[in-house]
């Protein structure tokens, strides 16, 4: 399916602006409202108690949720704990439920972005989980209804990395020689919301590794005595010329290796 290649960017840009202007003029004669997404046209707030009539299994435990820290009464609409994220629920309540009658942040991240502006920016980057494409949702990794929003941390039973390894099975292990950074969690090296670097890495070059792997036996005044960049008791300067540690420098199996303690393969 190919579009004829005769529209230029200028035609679209100026055409868009002109169209916007012309169409705005037409707005003044129309007695109908338009709402910014996410929204349910015509719905009004009904309060959390109404939600609890059908969704008690969720509302019962909501006071343990991280987002309960935000569930303050709104001066304009009263207690809107659920509706703060799901939008006004009157139509949903009247219809007895149903898709499309309530905002579902599980289907669209727009609700989350209303407060988490930085995450909108990160998910818009070239290297990000495909949340904006609708293939992954915020709730696939976060639970807004119960417990911590960042799952499996602190004194919770499960381990944090399960959030990632439930999909990324090859990185799950256990490996014979694991990368100790996995103890810090996948987010030690990756920002799962998105970065400017490939593989959602927080740095695309050797700095990623040198944050932890920098050692020198003789340091004088904070300056490396002979200019060496030592890791694993070896000067890595010429090796760093090749690019990144995990490919050019030989340490390919960065999540863990079954054959090499230095994670070479």
């Amino acid at each position: 399916m190919k579009l004829p290649h005769r529209w230029t960017k200028n035609a679209l840009l100026f055409g868009g602006i002109a169209a916007w202007g012309l169409l705005l003029i037409s707005c003044v004669s129309v007695n109908r409202a338009v709402l910014a997404p996410p929204a349910v046209p015509g719905a009004k707030f009904v309060g959390t108690k109404t939600c609890a009539e059908c969704h008690a299994e969720i509302t019962e435990h909501f006071n343990t949720a991280t987002h309960a820290n935000l569930a303050l009464s709104d001066a304009k609409v009263g207690d809107t704990g659920c509706e703060a994220c799901h939008g006004p629920g009157s139509i949903h309540n009247k219809a007895g439920g149903g898709a499309g009658t309530i905002v579902n942040p599980g289907k669209s991240p727009e609700t989350c972005f209303a407060c988490h502006l930085d995450k909108r920016g990160e998910f818009s980057l070239p290297n990000a989980h495909p949340v904006l494409a609708g293939k992954v949702g915020c709730v696939d990794c976060h639970d807004p209804h119960q417990g911590k929003v960042i799952k499996r941390t602190g004194a919770e039973l499960e381990t944090p990395n399960e959030t990632c390894t439930k999909c990324h099975t090859s990185q799950k292990g256990p490996f014979l020689f694991p990368h100790q950074a996995m103890q810090e969690g996948c987010t030690a090296c990756h920002n799962p919301h998105g970065t400017v670097n490939q593989k959602m890495l927080v740095a695309r070059d050797a700095n990623l590794c040198l944050r932890c792997h920098l050692e020198h036996p003789a340091v004088a005044g904070g300056v490396l005595g002979d200019g060496k960049i030592v890791a694993g008791s070896q000067d890595h300067r010429t090796r760093l010329q090749g690019g990144t540690c995990w490919s050019a420098g030989c340490h390919e199996d960065v999540h863990g290796s079954n054959a090499s303690k230095a994670m070479r393969y």
Binding site: L3, V28, A33, G42, A114, K172, T244, E252
Partner: protein, 739 residues
Amino acid sequence: MNHYTVTSLRFAALLASVALGLAVAPTRGADKQLPTDAFPLFESYIKISGRAPSVSGQDSSFARRLQLPANGTYGIEAMHFAKDTSKDTSVTFDGRALAGSEDYLGAFKATKNEVGTVEVGYKRFRTFYDDIGGFFPLNNRWVQMTNPELHTDRAKFWVEAKIEQPNAPKFELRYTNEQRTGRKDSTIWGDTDFTGIPAYYGVGASALNPPYSTARKTIPAYINLNERQENWLGSAKHTVGNTELDFEIVHNSTKSSDRRIVNRYPGELQLFPRQSAATNPPQIYPPETIANQVTGYDQQNIDSKTTGYTGKFETKVSGKLAVYGGVLYSKGSADIGGDRQMTQYMPTAVGLVTAIGGFVGAGGRPPYSYTTTAGETHEKVFSYNLGLKFQPQSDLLTTLAVKYEKTDVDGFNSVTYISNSINQTTGVVTPVIVAAPNLADRTEKSWIPEATFRYTGIKGLSLYGNVDYRHSPGTQYGNSTGVTTGGGAAAAVISDDNVKLNHGHYKFGANWTVNGMLTLRGEIFYKDHTNGFYDRATPGAGYVLGYQFLGEKLTAIVKPNSSLSFTTRLIRQTGKMDTSVDSGISFQSNDTKNYNIGETVDWSPSAQVFVQANVNVVFNTIKTAYGVAGGLGDDVLRNADNNYINGSLITGFVVDKKTDASVQYTYYRADNYKVPSPAAVFYGAGVKEYTVTVGLKHKFTDRIMGNAKLGYIDSKNDTTGGNTNFKGPLAYFSLEYAL
């Protein structure tokens, strides 16, 4: 810009300004409730759509960026069917079938009120990649795969049954089968002949070994993914008196066989440019090495089975106190294997010699080809937690909990290294086979106390905090055998460490609704980690990493009136790391700073118009050894800057009783591109990108709605030498029909 363009722009801007003024005029009536039902929400519907790009430039990069193939996509974007089959029974069906993007969904669910549900479904989607592993500024070499439009497919089948009767135990049975297959881009360790950049610099340089680093280079590769996992889950929940009980059994079977592949075909090599005799001898890579084919792969296999048992309870002792806790036990084992076969070559007096496996001996390269003959890992995890929820008054909630976790992992792996000894005079190759065993085990025992509180006793104010501290002593032992460049078994590398991990996390915050116009939120968080690995055989020797991260999140929501709001968010985070090795002298290894400033504006100048604008500006730098490293260190390292700005502006407005329109603009720029040392790949990211989209949504009848968008995208990428640039228009249409 030519005269025509400037004139057009002025005219369009004038027209838009006048129109906006007219549109804003009736704002006084904006508070009046107006009908918004031009676009009804269909309970059951089918939506057919198509996307048609016409991109010039790198198609595969377009596909990766937009997750849309350059040839477009079409089909059923969404389908939902819901029907009450009886007074207390209903069924739903959700579907999707988009050809091109290979995005499919079919899910059926039957519900009988107060009895339970049965659900079965299958979904699949495609993720697009391009192969941009290799751009080398030094010789302007762009290396890409023969077919750069790569993709992987994730698929999931599930079947689930729930029994949920009132005042009775709730049961759930679920089976899922997930697959990830396809090919995605990667990089691999490789010899410099893949890139055309010479291998040697300075001492040792010769006609066969011309200048530049002895380091191997990152080179483009791809991974063939073949991953599958199955989960069988059974759970039961029940409430007995004041106690909720929850029991779950999960069995997981994971099979993974991923192969990273690198290829170079005759003619792909790019000659290194000749340099001036004043700075270097004018040498190029030996011509005889250009026309050969080089291939290799590295395959990792895992076949694991894990069964986990979890039991949880929560008892309400009184209206103010609840006790909760749980036990988890899981046991798993895995067959592990690796197979790495790298084809190498070496010039000799009688010509070029090629063989699988590395060369050892004079002029050889370390032998990094091997195959696994046997290998297993085993893992046992046992953990439990116990906690109190105490709510002495309705506006104060506190929890105190502690978790204990014991992890035991052990395993072995026997590999056979494959190398070759070469006679550089006769060209005769003699295989060198070395068996090398590996062994490892580790134990970790963690205690994690945690405390939280939330207080809402002050009107409009919520105060909260969370502290947890993980103390994990343990041991780890590793015995790894390798091969020397001479072709013999290297002495085993044995590590036997006491491990101490201490991780503290602290968070405090406040949400304050000052009034209807102003909401303020603030949170401060602090991380303090120490990871110590102390050699048991040599007291005092070891590796200790410490780091501290401090950050703040500040949010302000300002609503001057019902039609305008500003949301501002500032996130600041700084971190430092230090390492000490053996000597005990601590050295700062990392200094990180991150500032994220975001702003969103929502504006409805009239009931018929909305405008949403948002922008994110990020300053991020990671400083490691650069700045304190001298000599060659300065040549090979820079601070890692990850600065960027991105944002969007969208406006939607009513055109007539049955039509809405929208205009959207997005922008992204990252300006961190740095040419590194001559022999290395690029550092940072240098991208500039914008999109413009104009859309119309129209209700044709009470059962049919349509949506059409026309957009344009322009993306320029300096980090790949412009080889992944693309631009062009993109059209989208859809028709939604009420069933």
